[in-house]
């Protein structure tokens, strides 16, 4: 099959879903007396001067980073048929503990950053590990236990923030941990704009971008090019076949959840190391649930998740200008929710169509070998 057709088939379903979602959201807005075209034009408006436009692009990229990591964390579980809904709690615990450890130690630059990253990954993995251990030893569904652990993590984080980990003075309006010193921060990447000849915006592009790219590539290699990744995907596609071929299913559950949790631990770090330098009561929330949507939209592949993260970040960015234009900013959430539903429905329809095509082909030529499913992505999907 030509690469054009192959990619066309992969991209067709999400693209159609996107259009359908926009149409449905537009109808809902219209029904409630909001002009959908005005909403779209505000969303697409990045400002007049080059500096404004680059600033907005930086805002989108900075928001896309945590979304990408969240999507990646969820996708690792999805690939093996595990629903890690606990990403929200995992990154909250990881961020607050990493922020406190980072503020408490003094180390030379790169080592300090590495320590914070390592702490975040370990805490995220441990918090996810509880889910795995309960599932493997006690048979508790990971969906329920991770939802409960989310609430527990939120409560614990608020206790830690107001109690032992408190770094801000009494009576401050925002409670926060102590600030991470200069050596533990990651600088911006704004030098890139000068090299590219673009206007250098006042806002810093997070340096964590590089870390996220490395993590994305590593996860791709791990899933697609190693024995572990093969076992993981095989278990996701058919648990019984995988365990018949010698895969230790229980061990895989634990390893996958640990890996997923470790990646989830990174979600809070772009903001922590690039902007806030402390965990506070205002820290970005809800990324875990958005990560599920991003993973579904990106069909569980790192490249797809990156695209989906940028799309979601683009939508998120629009909420401030929408408010400024006297439009309900919650249309962003509606569009995002409709996109998820449309995408999963579209994926399902695409899968069914390809299956029917394969059946027809095998009926027409009974002696010929059964052709591969025309969509490589359909085979990658473990969630169906």
């Amino acid at each position: 099959m030509s690469p054009l057709r192959r990619w066309g088939a992969v991209l067709l379903a999400p693209a159609m879903a996107l259009l359908i979602a926009l149409a449905i959201s537009g109808l809902v807005m219209g029904a409630l007396g909001v002009n959908p075209f005005r909403v779209l034009s505000v969303m697409a408006d990045f400002g007049d001067t080059p500096s404004q436009q680059v600033t907005q692009m930086v805002a989108v990229l900075n928001r896309a980073l945590p979304l990408f990591l969240a999507g990646l964390a969820v996708a690792i579980g999805f690939r093996m048929g595990l629903f890690n809904i606990g990403v929200e709690g995992q990154y909250r615990m990881a961020t607050i503990i990493a922020a406190t450890v980072g503020a408490a130690v003094v180390l030379p630059g790169p080592l300090h950053v590495a320590l914070i990253i390592a702490v975040a990954m370990v805490v995220g993995a441990l918090w996810a590990g509880i889910v795995a251990v309960l599932k493997v030893t006690r048979g508790v569904s990971e969906v329920i236990s991770s939802i409960m652990l989310n609430t527990i993590a939120l409560g614990l984080a608020s206790y830690l923030l107001t109690g032992p980990f408190r770094g801000s003075p009494e009576g401050a309006s925002i409670v926060a941990t102590a600030e991470i010193p200069e050596s533990g921060r990651i600088g911006g990447l704004n030098g890139v704009f000068d090299v590219l000849g673009l206007a250098n915006p006042p806002r810093q592009l997070y340096g964590f971008l590089l870390v996220a790219v490395v993590v994305g590539v590593l996860v791709w290699v791990l899933l697609q090019r190693t024995r572990f990744g093969f076992d993981l995907r095989a278990t996701g596609l058919s648990p019984s076949a995988a365990s018949a071929s010698g895969v230790d299913a229980r061990g895989m559950v634990v390893k996958t959840m640990l890996l997923s949790g470790a990646v989830a631990g990174l979600i809070g770090l772009p903001d922590l190391l690039g902007r806030t330098y402390e965990y506070n009561s205002d820290f970005t929330s809800g990324l875990g649930f958005l990560g599920i949507a991003v993973a579904l939209l990106g069909r569980n592949s790192p490249a797809g998740i990156a695209l989906a993260a940028v799309l979601y970040a683009f939508l998120d960015r629009a909420s401030v200008p929408l408010q400024a234009a006297q439009l309900p900013s919650s249309v962003v959430t509606i569009i995002q929710g409709t996109i998820v539903l449309a995408v999963v429905v579209a994926n399902e329809i695409a899968r069914r169509l390809s299956r029917r095509a394969a059946e027809r082909a095998s009926r027409q030529a009974p002696s010929a070998p059964v052709p591969q499913a025309p969509q490589p992505a359909a085979a990658q999907e473990v969630t169906s």
Binding site: F83, R138, G139, V140, T151, I152, P328, V344
Partner: protein, 424 residues
């Protein structure tokens, strides 16, 4: 009605044998009685009267109702083979519908508004899972995200720019308050139970407190929720419709071959499921008298956990809902009483540990005793828990109970599997 009756005809011997010889209902009553004795003991030892006070149990019953309704909603969906993670979202929709209809036309309209909005969420879930064959958990998660956005959007469109206290995050107050009932003589007027409770006698006063809590100013929806439990049992286990519904959750292929309209039944079940979750949301609106964003606070998920804890049976899920309602009510009433709960946990764990050791399961027994010691140490050292920690008491209890109990649970056989007619 939740546990199976024993068919063992051999002569019972020892405590275990005698326990096995009891029928399910008697075993449940024995368990409840033992638990009450234990709680009154803990109450006397710790001096925390809030543990069995009527106000705690009144709050517990009030907070049980939404969880019970959500869990019942989950029962309909999952017995028909559709996993419903979207209960939380349907509950959110229900709270908004109740808030909007309630402030316009009063409490009766609020009930209908909540039912309708919840049912809409259920319909969406049914379309995605039954017609389009989307994975149930994914569709549920999407509905949860979508519901939060939809209510925000609706509030932004309807409640902005007003001066009656309503805004993006809350509705105006309800036009009328729902009625509530107390049992005469016992709990109101002479209030015999109330007087008995104030004597603080061992067991007697505790029982009086519990009974008074359950019979004082019971809301109309609480009453409906409690009545829905036997009604659901009768509908699902004693009618042809119920048999068909359950057959869709156990073996849809066989059901289809016998002429059951599997798709239609699944649709009906999931819509009922959404409506009941929405009704759970109405209870929350009644408690607060307004709709407020984030009011559900994960109760949809706790309802789901109660359903699993209750082994997908009406009686069992009632027990689960009561447990979580009690934990919720207790943490609202008194933060120090939650510490006394640790003593209760310690006593229970010691019993479990000894039981396991007697059955020669050394690892489990020792583990239970270690945790019992930890809980005891916590009880002896902690004065009062900070709010952050107390807030997740119900969730922690859920997790603990599920991890202790989940091995003997059996979900409907085809629960969560996508059924496509003719593809099997």
């Amino acid at each position: 009605m939740s546990t199976t009756t024993s068919t063992d005809t051999s002569a019972p011997s020892g405590v275990a044998g005698r326990l096995r010889g009891l029928t399910g209902a008697r075993r449940v009553w024995l368990g409840v009685a033992l638990l009450l004795v234990l709680i009154s003991l803990v109450r006397v030892v710790s001096g925390e009267d809030a543990l069995t006070s009527s106000s705690t149990f009144s709050a517990a019953l009030l907070l049980t109702a939404p969880i019970l309704l959500v869990a019942l909603g989950g029962l309909y969906a999952e017995r028909a083979g559709v996993v419903n993670i979207g209960l939380e979202g349907m509950m959110i929709l229900g709270t908004w519908g109740a808030g909007y209809a309630g402030y316009q036309w009063g409490w009766q309209a609020a009930i209908i508004g909540g039912l309708l909005f919840g049912a809409l969420g259920g319909l969406l879930h049914a379309v995605a899972t039954v017609t389009f064959g989307v994975d149930h958990v994914i569709s549920g998660v999407a509905i949860n995200i979508l519901a939060a956005g939809v209510v925000r959007f609706l509030s932004e469109s309807v409640y902005t720019g007003r001066d009656d206290g309503a805004g993006i995050t809350q509705s105006p107050g309800m036009a009328s308050r729902p009625p509530s009932f107390s049992v005469p003589v016992l709990s109101s007027g002479p209030d015999l139970l109330g007087r008995l409770e104030e004597l603080h006698w061992f067991l007697v006063s505790d029982l009086a407190g519990v009974l008074r809590g359950f019979t004082t100013s019971v809301g109309v929806l609480t009453l409906i929720a409690v009545l829905l439990v036997p009604a659901t049992y009768l509908l699902l286990w004693r009618t042809a419709f119920g048999l068909r519904l359950r057959s869709c959750g156990e073996n849809p292929v066989a059901a289809d071959s016998l002429g059951v309209a599997v798709y239609r039944i699944k649709y009906i079940a999931v819509i009922i499921s959404g409506a009941l979750a929405g009704l759970g949301g109405v209870v929350l609106v009644f408690i607060a008298n307004i709709y407020r964003e984030g009011q559900t606070n994960g109760r949809g998920f706790i309802g789901l956990a109660a359903l699993i804890f209750g082994n997908w049976r009406p009686g069992g899920l009632t027990g689960g809902a009561l447990l979580f309602g009690f934990a919720d009510g207790l943490q609202l009433r008194s933060r120090s009483a939650v510490v006394a709960l640790l003593l209760l946990v310690a006593v229970l764990l010691v019993a479990i540990g000894i039981w396991q050791l007697l059955r020669r399961r050394v690892v489990q027994g020792v583990l239970a005793l270690v945790f019992a010691a930890a809980a005891m140490a916590g009880y002896l050292t902690i004065e009062e828990l900070p709010t952050g920690i107390v807030s997740f008491t119900p969730h922690l209890v859920t997790l603990l109970v599920l991890s202790l109990a989940s091995q003997r649970l059996r979900m409907p056989k085809a629960d969560g599997l996508v059924y496509r007619r003719g593809e099997h």
